[in-house]
């Protein structure tokens, strides 16, 4: 018997014979299936479109922005939105739209860079803690617990103040503050996956521990890390804005959404547009990353859906 029939949903079945009479069904691989599930979620796609648009805006800021963001125009100080300056100007005559566009570099850049740093540090430590166990696990986790006991933003502010005010230092401070979350998440995920039977099966064929960690466990925890990273980017954007607002991040006259708010707070009555646009940008970016993160969570873990 050599028929290939289609069996249960998503399943290809052959008889015991071979080769098959008909061709293989074009079943999507895991990545394509994930993409199909993601694109089916409208809110996730809204988030993705906004994120992509903002990143493009930041990358091509030189072409998008109508003015030089640090060029002052003493003829137009705190002028309300107009055709010449759609978002208005600030207290020294900077074009707010241009500063929003260039500010995206600082805000998104800080969000992405700091989270990349947190993952780069948190993932290996979490993997070691979760898979090695014992005294190594104990040491890593006590340190992580100690860091987690300090509120994220307070820790970031303290580190930034210690390192000195600059955008790079703000990124490092935010990244280090977020690391403990990734250590803890990675460890929990590793322990959950390590208990699965395919890990025992991997031991049974003679995989050494490092290969089990890299080839069998890591690919299965990437989805959870990716979701957490996306959501943490949103938090990191707020953190960068907060640090800049406090003067610990982007230094004037270079623009960032947080430092723009810092200046705008002095002119809320006279020039509300100075606060509205950076505030709205932060809000939109955070919302977009959160929508995308939620969508990724649903699309990456089919088991959680009912």
């Amino acid at each position: 018997m050599s028929n290939i029939g289609i069996t249960q949903p998503g399943v290809i079945e052959s008889g015991t014979g071979l080769p098959p009479a008909t061709s293989l069904r074009a079943e999507p691989g895991p990545i394509r299936a994930f993409w199909a599930r993601l694109t089916a979620r409208r809110t996730a796609m809204v988030g993705l479109v906004i994120v992509v648009a903002m990143i493009l805006m930041a990358v091509f800021a030189d072409w998008v922005a109508p003015y030089d963001p640090i060029a002052t125009d003493w003829g137009a100080i705190r002028s309300p939105p107009s055709w010449a300056h759609p978002f208005g100007t600030d207290e020294v005559g900077h074009d707010v739209l241009s500063r929003i566009v260039f500010g995206a570099r600082a805000s998104l850049g800080a969000g992405l860079t700091s989270v990349a740093l947190a993952v780069a540090l948190g993932l290996p430590f979490g993997l070691i803690a979760g898979y090695a166990g014992g005294i190594v696990d104990l040491l890593i986790m006590r340190l992580t617990d100690a860091l987690l006991a300090i509120p994220f933003l307070i820790l970031a502010i303290a580190l930034a103040a210690f390192l000195g005010p600059s955008l790079t230092n703000a990124m490092v401070a935010i990244g280090l503050s977020a690391t403990s979350t990734f250590v803890r998440l990675t460890r929990a995920q590793v322990q959950a996956v390590a208990a699965e039977e395919f890990v025992e099966a991997a031991r049974a064929v003679g995989n050494p521990p490092w290969r089990i960690a890299i080839r069998h466990i890591l690919p299965n925890i990437v989805p959870a890390i990716l979701v957490q990273a996306t959501l943490t980017i949103a938090a990191a954007i707020i953190a960068e804005a907060s640090l800049s607002f406090l003067g610990l991040g982007q230094q004037p006259p270079e623009p960032s959404w947080g430092s723009m708010l810092n200046v705008a707070k002095n002119f809320l009555e006279q020039a509300p547009w100075m606060a509205i646009w950076p505030g709205a940008s932060i809000f939109l970016a955070v919302l977009a990353f959160n929508l995308l993160g939620d969508g990724l969570r649903d699309a990456l873990d089919p088991r959680q859906r009912t």
């Binding site: 018997m1 029939g5 289609i6 069996t7 399943v11 199909a36 599930r37 009912t306």
Partner: protein
């Protein structure tokens, strides 16, 4: 036998579908049968045969969406369960129809005492007050042979063994003296010795209470001992149905025959050992049910017509009355020809 008794359950052309990512899964495709009062019906099938889904659908227990009942009627004492308001259905479910599912651990609430869970349906369906319900709950645990019933009412499910939990589920299923007990793979997760005890218990209770039973299982051995009537399901259809002795002695569906032959014989020694009979292939994808007889692709006796037309479930010629089969091929004739050729 229960031939002359009143019809209790009349399932007519029941069809159930599920919406899935890959398309609509046609889980149950026109299932019709009747069950008389006091009759034990054994339903045999594999995963995906529709054996469990169709009873969940008749009790209003499939999640909707993604599930949909796409057609048919389920008359219980003349009332169509599918068109009953949820409130009315709730009165019947757990009341006149008791049910026991495969996994007693997930069917029992771990945070509630066993007593409270037995008392609940008694208060809802029979309107008993607290004291009377508790007394009845103790009687029920006695009935399912759990020692020290009075004290154990106040214990939690994790304090019971797997077999005892299934007994508790049976006690709950029987609590309101149902006319029908539906058991879906009720002993599958249990050890054979515990399974034997549970089956013995259900047989005894049936003699005492006289309820009808629908016993759903994949184990032909279990069905052989307890059923009056056996029904074999495959790909959401009934392929064969009949009185238990006639079905096992003279199966008319190639699928039934294949299942019977694929079981190794406990009494056959190594000397007389033959290669196990195996049914090739696997069940069809129910998103794209094949035209014709759903078993045709795996059936060595299939005729060309099996691949195109769906056979009706009709009286098998020469078999006992009520022995129905859905097949275009004539299995006894084909087997006789095979025998002659050998």
């Amino acid at each position: 036998m229960a031939q002359d008794r009143v019809t209790l359950l009349d399932v007519r052309d029941l069809a159930v579908a599920f919406d899935s990512e890959g398309g609509v899964v046609h889980a149950v495709n026109g299932v019709s049968y009747t069950l008389r009062e006091g009759e034990t019906l054994g339903i045999v099938g594999e995963s995906g045969s529709g054996k469990s889904v169709h009873v969940l659908a008749m009790l209003g227990l499939i999640p909707r969406p993604p599930g949909r009942i796409t057609g048919g009627q389920v008359l219980f004492e003349g009332r169509d369960l599918l068109r009953l308001p949820e409130k009315e259905l709730r009165k019947i479910r757990g009341g006149q129809i008791g049910f026991v599912f495969q996994d007693p651990m997930s069917s029992l609430n771990p945070g509630m005492t066993v007593g409270a869970q037995i008392v609940e349906p008694l208060r809802i369906h029979l309107g008993l007050d607290g004291r009377a319900a508790r007394a009845r709950a103790k009687d029920l645990l006695d009935l399912v042979r759990i020692p020290h019933a009075g004290a154990r009412l106040d214990q939690y499910p994790h304090e019971f063994s797997g077999g005892q939990r299934q007994r508790v589920m049976i006690a709950i299923g029987l609590s309101c003296r149902p006319k029908l007990l539906i058991a879906d793979e009720a002993t599958t997760a249990l050890d054979v010795t515990v399974q034997a005890e549970i089956i013995g218990l259900v047989q005894e209770l049936k003699r005492e209470i006289g309820m009808a039973i629908v016993w759903i299982t994949h184990d032909l051995g279990v069905v052989a001992g307890i059923a009056d009537t056996v029904q074999v399901m495959y790909a959401g259809r009934i392929l064969e149905r009949g009185p238990v002795d006639d079905m096992f002695r003279d199966p008319r569906s190639a699928y039934t025959l294949g299942l019977l032959r694929s079981l190794p014989d406990l009494s056959r020694g190594r000397a007389g050992r033959r290669r196990l009979h195996q049914i090739e292939g696997a069940p069809p994808d129910m998103r794209h049910p094949p035209p014709g007889d759903p078993f045709a692709a795996r059936n060595v006796y299939a005729t060309p017509r099996c691949l195109t037309d769906t056979p009706p479930l009709i009286q098998a010629p020469g078999a006992a009355p009520g022995h129905l089969v859905a097949a275009w091929y004539d299995l006894p004739a084909r087997l006789a020809a095979e025998e002659a050729a050998r």
